[in-house]
């Protein structure tokens, strides 16, 4: 007797269904649908999303809703992931030792060293024999500024360079009798201390400064003692890679590199209990997790950032699932080093410096989650029998195995939003599975932080789409260097900019970002999360660590749809001789619908068996 059944997979982000007609063990798939999960996974709020997905699938299949005779829901594993980030180092440069700056159009080139002198004081206070760096406020017109400098110069005053508040470095330079480097667009010029030794350096276009970014260059310029050189070294480091810079030095000037106490993690592992400081960096944290030998739980030091983060997460899961706080544990952590642009105190024009930090993804779980409650609510609402099906990992494997070219033994990597779930099935059919912290949402967070986008939404777009740079009204350079021509002109808001090439729209990115930088951050974020987790998953699943014994790794889940993540994993695992690629569920569905498909197939087998 043939009947229509539905498999329903409730994920953290997406709810997926598969509809099939089952006839004496023969399964004919009719349709599938994906929708956003409503509410938190495992809560009654999910019902409305499920209902919508089933309706849509039934419509696609051309059957009536009431033709569905049975629904099987996955026994969702109760895990949620969350993310946090902490800056662990910070360069503080006190006001008396100021640095900057990288404007688009500085004037002149070269290195100028002298004492800061306000434009207004050129006439009265300039002494012969002393070299000066002229400080030009916004209220001074460029003609006036040039006139004043020329007058002083012609009188014999040594002019070594200038710092201007407005964007008129080139204008002033063009009017000078002396050819000096000028750094302009210095927003906070009123903070510049006068009468202090300072240096201005501008490199040729496409080059970077070499003196002010070298500690011994600074020592030479300012005649520093070894002790003073030691102090000023972070300034040199902050200027590496700039085309132009200003450094102003005062005797009391002080530069401090401070390490912020971000707190400690207490790792309760199966083998041992280990404490590790966030400040030790991601590598050390990951090594400690390995040494702990499988996490049972993790605590964060009370009263610190990381403590607050981990407890907040526990609280949240406890409230939303109705499970006691004590039953909730942290099963995995993924730590990654991040470089975060942070504004420099002591900067003259809002400079950023790259500070190092650690991003953490964590995997919070509770032993039981009341999927039955969801099932009951669903059954009541729809009037169709609903049962809670087999283990999620087994269902996913069953679905993935419908991919052409696969067989047991096989490993699946379910690359979702909050977690990367891995499961393996041996030749004999035993399964083993693991939930790893860190997946698509962490990639988004890393992109957001490292590019200082301050928008998750924009970061998500950066993650999912290739880039372009609008080179002229009618053409755009793509990431691979090829040119794309447009019939109609690009709009002004994307002109000259790096853009995200969404299917229908071009989304401009902040002006200071280069295509190369955005691409590098995007790809490295993906690698840090997914290549790392692929290796971690395999190491867990093949405990001998000889992952060369594995043959097939199949990627499923939303992040397996990514335009480059699967290829990165394919390349990396290829080094070990492993065949890795994204799934093509049922030969047609790509990396989607694995669990829902597996649920349907498990029902079919039971009907036969």
């Amino acid at each position: 007797m043939s009947q229509v059944i539905a498999g329903v997979d409730i994920g953290n982000s997406s709810t997926e269904v598969a509809l099939a007609r089952v006839d004496e063990g023969k399964v004919e798939f009719l349709a599938q649908h994906l929708t956003k999960t409503t509410g938190i996974k495992g809560t009654v709020d999910n019902v409305s999303g499920i209902r919508f997905a089933l309706k849509s699938a039934a419509e696609k299949a051309g059957i009536s809703f009431s033709d569905i005779k049975k629904i099987r829901v996955n026994d969702a594993v109760p895990v949620i992931g969350d993310l946090a980030m902490d800056v662990i180092s910070e360069t503080l440069i006190t006001e008396s030792s100021m640095i900057g700056h990288n404007p688009d159009t500085p004037g002149g080139t070269g290195l100028g060293i002298g004492m800061t002198l306000h434009l207004d004081d050129l006439r009265s206070n300039a002494e012969n024999g002393q070299a000066y760096i002229v400080v030009i406020p916004a209220k001074a017109d460029y003609e006036w500024a040039a006139h004043m400098i020329n007058e002083a110069y012609d009188r014999g005053v040594k002019i070594a360079g200038a710092i201007a508040q407005k964007d008129d470095g080139v204008l002033i330079y063009n009017r000078l009798h002396c050819k000096i480097p000028i750094v302009d667009e210095v927003a906070y010029i009123e903070k510049v201390p006068l009468g202090k030794q300072s240096a201005v350096e501008v490199a040729l276009p496409g080059h970077v400064i070499r003196t002010l970014s070298n500690p011994y260059g600074l020592a030479t310029v300012f005649g520093l003692t070894p002790d003073e050189t030691r102090q000023i070294a972070p300034v040199a480091r902050a200027l590496v890679g700039n085309r132009s810079a200003v450094v102003i030095r005062t005797p009391q000037g002080e530069v401090v590199e401070r390490r912020i106490e971000a707190g400690r993690l207490i790792l309760h592992g199966r083998k041992s209990r280990i404490e590790v400081a966030i400040n030790d960096g991601a590598e050390e944290i990951m090594r400690s997790i390995e040494r702990a030998g499988g996490l049972i739980n993790v605590q964060g030091e009370m009263g610190t950032n990381v403590g607050g983060m981990l407890n907040g997460l526990r609280q949240y899961l406890s409230e939303s699932t109705g499970q006691p706080f004590a039953d909730i544990s942290i099963g995995d952590l993924l730590a990654t080093d991040v470089l975060i642009p942070v504004s420099v105190s002591g900067a003259m024009a809002g400079e950023l410096s790259m500070e190092s930090g650690v991003a953490l993804a964590s995997m919070v779980k509770t032993e039981r989650m009341p999927v039955e409650r969801v099932a009951q609510a669903l059954e009541k609402e729809l009037g169709i029998p609903v049962e809670v099906g087999g283990v999620e990992a087994e269902m996913a494997i069953r679905g993935a195995l419908t991919t052409p070219g696969t067989e047991k033994p096989l490993v699946i990597l379910d690359m979702g939003g909050g977690s990367t779930d891995a499961a393996a099935v041996s030749e004999g059919g035993e399964t083993i599975s693991v939930h790893l912290a860190g997946a698509g949402d962490m990639v988004t967070m890393l992109i957001d932080a490292e590019l200082a986008l301050h928008s998750r939404e924009l970061a998500e777009k950066v993650k999912k789409n290739p880039l372009g740079k609008v080179m002229s009204l009618f053409h755009m350079q793509l990431e691979d260097g090829t040119m794309l021509f447009s019939e109609s002109p690009f709009p002004p808001d994307v002109y000259g900019r790096v853009v995200i090439r969404e299917e229908k729209e071009l989304v401009p990115l902040p002006v200071k970002l280069s295509m190369e930088k955005v691409r590098a951050v995007r790809r490295s974020a993906k690698r840090r999360v997914f290549v790392t987790n692929a290796i971690r998953a395999l190491a867990y699943i093949v405990p001998t660590k000889n992952i060369r014994h594995l043959s097939f790794v199949v990627m499923v889940g939303g992040s397996a749809l990514d335009f480059e993540i699967p290829q990165m994993v394919t390349e990396e695992l290829g080094k070990y001789g492993i065949v890795a690629g994204f799934a093509n569920v049922r030969g047609t569905e790509g990396p989607r619908n694995a669990v829902a498909t597996g649920l349907v197939l498990s029902v079919a087998r039971e009907v036969v068996g």
């Binding site: 688009d104 159009t105 460029y142 964007d167 008129d168 470095g169 080139v170 204008l171 063009n174 609008v470 080179m471 002229s472 009204l473 009618f474 002109p489 002004p492 808001d493 002109y495 000259g496 900019r497 401009p508 002006v511």
Partner: protein, 105 residues
């Protein structure tokens, strides 16, 4: 780059436009045109430009940045006020650089 101004346009706004062009390193020349709307002036300036981009400036200080490859009648940027930004953005249209934020962008 040609800057075509309506008869009676103030010195100040013109000088600001020239300064914007100079800061960005783009050479320019100035022609005083008839009394005429800025769009028309901009379009005409573009046709005179070896760089394909021209600026039209009106008596009221408003300005239009036009590109010869754009369909008739549509200036690319219309900047109601700041001459400096107008000059800089016209230069940036030639250089392929993102525009400075002015009121027209």
């Amino acid at each position: 780059m040609p800057v075509l101004s309506e008869k009676g346009t103030g010195e100040k706004v013109l000088n600001d436009i020239f300064a914007g062009l100079e800061e960005e390193g783009v050479p320019f020349f100035h022609i005083e045109g008839a009394e005429c709307d800025v769009w028309e002036l901009g379009r005409h300036a573009a046709t005179l430009s070896p760089l394909d981009v021209g600026i039209g400036v009106g008596k009221d200080g408003g300005s239009a940045i036009c590109h010869i490859k754009l369909a008739r009648g549509s200036p690319y940027l219309f900047e109601p006020a700041s001459g400096r930004t107008t000059g800089q953005n016209a230069a940036r249209l030639v250089k392929g650089m993102p525009f400075k934020k002015g009121k027209g962008v």
